[in-house]
Symmetry: D2
Subunit: 459 residues, 4 copies
Amino acid sequence: MELHEECGVFGVYDPAGDCARTAYYGLYALQHRGQETCGIAAINNRELSFHKDVGLVGEVFRPQILDELNGTMAVGHVRYSTTGGTRRENAQPLTLKYVKGTLALAHNGNLPHADELRTRFEYQGAIFQTTSDSELIAYAIAQARLRCPSVEEAVCQALKGLRGAWSLIVMSPRKLVAARDLWGFRPLCMGRRGEAVVFASESCALDAVGAKFERDLGPGEIVAVEDGAVRTVQKPAGAKGHLCIFEYIYFARPDSTICGQSVHQARRLAGRFLAKEHPVEADVVIGVPDSGLDAAMGCAEESGIPYGVGLVKNRYIGRTFITPGQGHREEAVRIKLGALKHCVEGKRVVLVDDSIVRGTTSRQIVSLLREAGAREVHLRSSAPPFVSPCWFGTDIPDNDQLIACQHSGEDIRKQIGADSLGFLSLKSLHKIAPDAACGFCDGCFTGKYPLNIIDLVHS
Amino acid sequence: MELHEECGVFGVYDPAGDCARTAYYGLYALQHRGQETCGIAAINNRELSFHKDVGLVGEVFRPQILDELNGTMAVGHVRYSTTGGTRRENAQPLTLKYVKGTLALAHNGNLPHADELRTRFEYQGAIFQTTSDSELIAYAIAQARLRCPSVEEAVCQALKGLRGAWSLIVMSPRKLVAARDLWGFRPLCMGRRGEAVVFASESCALDAVGAKFERDLGPGEIVAVEDGAVRTVQKPAGAKGHLCIFEYIYFARPDSTICGQSVHQARRLAGRFLAKEHPVEADVVIGVPDSGLDAAMGCAEESGIPYGVGLVKNRYIGRTFITPGQGHREEAVRIKLGALKHCVEGKRVVLVDDSIVRGTTSRQIVSLLREAGAREVHLRSSAPPFVSPCWFGTDIPDNDQLIACQHSGEDIRKQIGADSLGFLSLKSLHKIAPDAACGFCDGCFTGKYPLNIIDLVHS
Amino acid sequence: MELHEECGVFGVYDPAGDCARTAYYGLYALQHRGQETCGIAAINNRELSFHKDVGLVGEVFRPQILDELNGTMAVGHVRYSTTGGTRRENAQPLTLKYVKGTLALAHNGNLPHADELRTRFEYQGAIFQTTSDSELIAYAIAQARLRCPSVEEAVCQALKGLRGAWSLIVMSPRKLVAARDLWGFRPLCMGRRGEAVVFASESCALDAVGAKFERDLGPGEIVAVEDGAVRTVQKPAGAKGHLCIFEYIYFARPDSTICGQSVHQARRLAGRFLAKEHPVEADVVIGVPDSGLDAAMGCAEESGIPYGVGLVKNRYIGRTFITPGQGHREEAVRIKLGALKHCVEGKRVVLVDDSIVRGTTSRQIVSLLREAGAREVHLRSSAPPFVSPCWFGTDIPDNDQLIACQHSGEDIRKQIGADSLGFLSLKSLHKIAPDAACGFCDGCFTGKYPLNIIDLVHS
Amino acid sequence: MELHEECGVFGVYDPAGDCARTAYYGLYALQHRGQETCGIAAINNRELSFHKDVGLVGEVFRPQILDELNGTMAVGHVRYSTTGGTRRENAQPLTLKYVKGTLALAHNGNLPHADELRTRFEYQGAIFQTTSDSELIAYAIAQARLRCPSVEEAVCQALKGLRGAWSLIVMSPRKLVAARDLWGFRPLCMGRRGEAVVFASESCALDAVGAKFERDLGPGEIVAVEDGAVRTVQKPAGAKGHLCIFEYIYFARPDSTICGQSVHQARRLAGRFLAKEHPVEADVVIGVPDSGLDAAMGCAEESGIPYGVGLVKNRYIGRTFITPGQGHREEAVRIKLGALKHCVEGKRVVLVDDSIVRGTTSRQIVSLLREAGAREVHLRSSAPPFVSPCWFGTDIPDNDQLIACQHSGEDIRKQIGADSLGFLSLKSLHKIAPDAACGFCDGCFTGKYPLNIIDLVHS
């Protein structure tokens, strides 16, 4: 898969201190949500300090840095660039001084009307030093704070004027405020560890720090923590919201539970539906590691075809990997994935991937399996075809790069070189999360969004 | 698992050039065999150049370095320290000047009588700048070369005087010489890509560079490549040899085939035997990722208990990970592994790991599963208990740290906190590789070695 | 000497391009003005790009970075922290987006009323991401731009509302604007190289890039460059201004000429006055390298006592120097300075330093000379005693750390262990720059400032 | 000047411990003798540990590293490559294991017959892992040790078989052995600090660590320290030896005293002789910083022409400096040196440099001074013309790059663009060190060496 999640956020209040270290472990658990920059801001005796840089959590933080950040509150952030480029300047948490002192912000999401907002602020004399939406949110909060009696009221007021996706954690010297947009696009949950209160994009980060999951924040909900007391600043909206359904298919970690739905189970179910919708005679079902494995298991279970390990992923490929030169680029897949000859040789293989974006990787994997002796390769995608951009934080390529926008089903199959090709249907897609207490956004698969994008962007 | 493999070696002759880049990709595929140091030496127009350092392949090499190393022959090495500490000085390939010019050596293995050899050389006035066995082998070759008409003859002569484990690649300005010890402890195979000849510790490295597997080198075999011609310097010994059986269980990559046996299949078989030998009523079989997964699948297949994904591994934990402080060390497992509650909650779980060394990690994982709601946890190890050191290149801890040397079976179970505990039997161990064309060394499980160690070490 | 200059600025317009490289060489020449952070912003085809970081010019920039910044305009900055800490966030040039597009700012100076200004902006809803005054100036310009027809008019308007010290270079996609505060605290000059126009804190940076010095900007003067045309936006104020006189004594490079006065000559003259004001019978005059050498030569010339080289500076001491541990800290001077025994042994030595701040280094040097055999050591400071803080950009310690604020002359002499001690008088101080076309600020020596500080700070 | 010294050595025994830190400060003081690699080896409780790398002392060592190296003996080394390239592998001290345990070697010098020696060892089966002469010396010692009862005897025996230049410090777990070659090419002195014994290439390193200079080692002398007792293993040869005279002119630090002669005084005297030998009517004498300044002062004193500061050196130019591109290379001098216009404008200038090698830098400096307004520039070199290579450790370019080998005096003057040109005569050269207790090698100026080089190299 070639899509990028944008961000993960983490926040912790713990009277026992050591919060930067807790945030560090929380960010480790959220690293899959963003690998470009990361950062932690902490409050110690009402003083804000922070560290952020380009790189993985394990690269950016050293023991000494964590010790210096020690405090009783912290917010952390991992980031993949959607808007904003990969500059170090765009690393979060955003830290700032405003009329009432200092703030730190960590934000996962995207504002489709950011340009219009920025212009509006600029006409009031504002300056922008980053290209991230978080700076816009910060301005909105700073201005609201002039009228509001508290930081949490200011957050509440400021967000009322915004449209889009945010799972936001704001930290002042005394308070931690967590907020989720009215549509509930991005996940955000809350847990406790003794007297400590923890917020995180996914429940796996609560597990990592030993916190007990308490609940997901609802769409539009705003919660403030002060001296350990948790107060609802704004109740969740009545509606069920529109969680990004792709969180289940690809973004989230399989051991997370989002809005009551296990991510692993959702993927397994997607695989089961795939088997039902696109039956085929075959000898083995294999998955593209790691994100296609769960669906492959589900597919095998439903179809009765044995599940096999057909591809092994090289665990050491990182950003510093030097790709093969001109004319050998297709070979990169050989280094990233190894085919298990004994598993596929002479066999009819069902190959399950989480989704198909440009189709280039799929073509290379199919070719790798054929070289390893596969007699047939039947490709199954546990997501429907991508047909439309995402306005709410996922880095889906432009339509002219989406294979499903440019080609019909049969053309795609030929290009990829598979013997058959099947996508999960939209109908089944909506059944992969039966335990979810929320509604979904599936705009990238349908072109229909919970918000009127055209009005928003052209307002 | 907490054992370390010691090394991986790679060698390539390619008249088309770019051999350092080929070695780079080959080492990427062998990175699991050693993560402490790596290096590549290349021959370009009879001139030797090299680069080696502490770190992963992706950290040590930059495009410019590979370009400067460009040549028509290369040897590469990845290393985990057994003897020799982690010093940069011990990074391989060892490069040297001797009476006939330059040599580069890459070596996987261990010489039990190294101390005695070193003393013998020192009494001839030799100096040693590293603590690695490779320097000893280099001396032996340099001295043999005074009497032998060619480098390959010198290698042949020198190795005759040695006892122990080596899969060795030696490169002179004109020749590439690959050699395997008489007992065949460590794997070494050969492949071709057009006119290119490739040697590697495992077949997955041949796949990574697009080379076709030709054959394994036999025990005692020595092969030389010169200007593309492959010549057998010494034929394999008649006996079947003693391949380290732990290569199948843990060291090798699942997509490698060693001596005719698929590594993945061997692990799956081990899992099947486990199910037969230690049956239990349970609801789900899960594996400890990554090395326990294959055996867990085999175990599920044989027992009929469903296979589940119960543990998710954090893919971003690297050497820079800051472990939790004093009193929290046990928590590290939470960050490294996430438990899938939906999979284990209220269930009787069979947990399959590749082996049990000290037992501490197993105890933490069992505890993690119980916290996630597992009703019972039945631990199965796809290797027998470790009872004896390895003299041939595996970093098995001293007996006083091996849980199986210190405790009886029931004690171990209690310490680990499992509801039942089962190890693979020695008898079954010898049946996990039915396709293997070789015999095995199982000394770490039996205390019986193919070589008389006591004579060797005290000679 | 232990004082720090705050900043150096550089700006260049060159239709031939390569401006980032020109700025790089210009910053090298200004590195003595700031060693903590540096940065360059460049305009290429109306697009702004930049690079800045903690470190020396030679550490922060690589050839590839300079190539990527290539353009037809550039501003550069070197910084020592006065206000703002050493954070990477405070590195300049400040780059931003505002109502009319992008801007880059490089600023040398200090605003004593920064806190009051910041508060004023915050009450309009502004947020601050750095602690540097430059961000304040940027806000002022952004707000003025809403009312002004051009960036240069906006700079002009914005600066009218400020009180304090600035030598400022602002770059928009089309224009380079250079401005100097009404008091002329910090130097700023202009030169040409063919069609290129260059601005720099000191003339030595013009020499370094092969530009011909044209003139100093006058107090309050603002100049704009557009497509090579230089336009005076605001004429210099009629008054002669108040250049920081310490620029001649310590900050500036000896080969610079500021306001018509050679820095080297000013120092030599200071030495001559010292000799007249504090005559002593002695055998040799030596200087503390590097900043005391010029005055020592002047002192020798005037007194007729031979000039000698008595101290050699270790050129390799940098920020990474590990200072001797507890109880050995006094020894650091031995490593930084070597005494020439043959020059001082048995002699009566006149030791000239540029100034005396805390007195600790002076004491150590006197002691070093006595160990080397000096019979007498007569210390002379080419600056008067520091008695008051600087509000305009120099990092003078608080009064309680200034030896001259805490002790009388004789006490100081005893503490330092000199046989006699002489400071340059205020009267002579004003005669060291006879060629200067400007007036001076000597507030740190007199407590009298060109601006009413008390009103400003408490307004 | 464009010549490179090869190395500096430092050794310390101190029962109070902390020897690695002492060596660190000693190496800082010797950094001018080599800037490519550095290293320290230390003995703590008979155990050897070491750290060495490419880089300056301040870059290679961190506090933690020094703490880990803590011990009661240490040897240190700074290196500029002569033989051996700049590889990390060639960094010293060389550390090794041999028949009697461990050794560390630090070596300043060169063996002209290294190739012949290396071949001889190779024919005994030796292997070489570096290209440095030190490895040869190590082999010689290791072999001698087989016959000798102690390490100091072995050093003594081994050195008897060598011809060339060495100032050598060898450290065993119990002893520190310092040795100087029979000709005394390179300096080596000894000092004490309480119970500590210190050896160093130059006395400035003794001063830096607070040790009192005791004496220079004589030609051929070997001294051993064991448990604080200093024992003469071999007395100095009767002859006065042949110290490299260029140590006085360029290599050594001005505050060092070598063989009884102050380096600064020697340079000052050289300047005086220059004034006598090449008188000229002029207005000012200036030196090329830093190494030409002392001679310029001497020249001014003798001639009665005033001494001036005409050139200022940029102190921040380091290895990372990006040189101006194609067609601008000549401009580099502008960034490295600033001309003081007020000092040279309209004047007849005598310019003193330490020596002239290729002439390119001299030409650029003359041109820089003319641009700054100098009416005449009379160049004086405080060394005679280079006419022959150095076999004993100085990196003098091949004859075809030496301007004095390729051109007559008048041609050189024209090429450089000076109004007159004068070299110090050989006769005067031998008078610059009247206090020296030794004879000199002036082979690079005369082609006559103390050793029969032709026999040695072709033996």
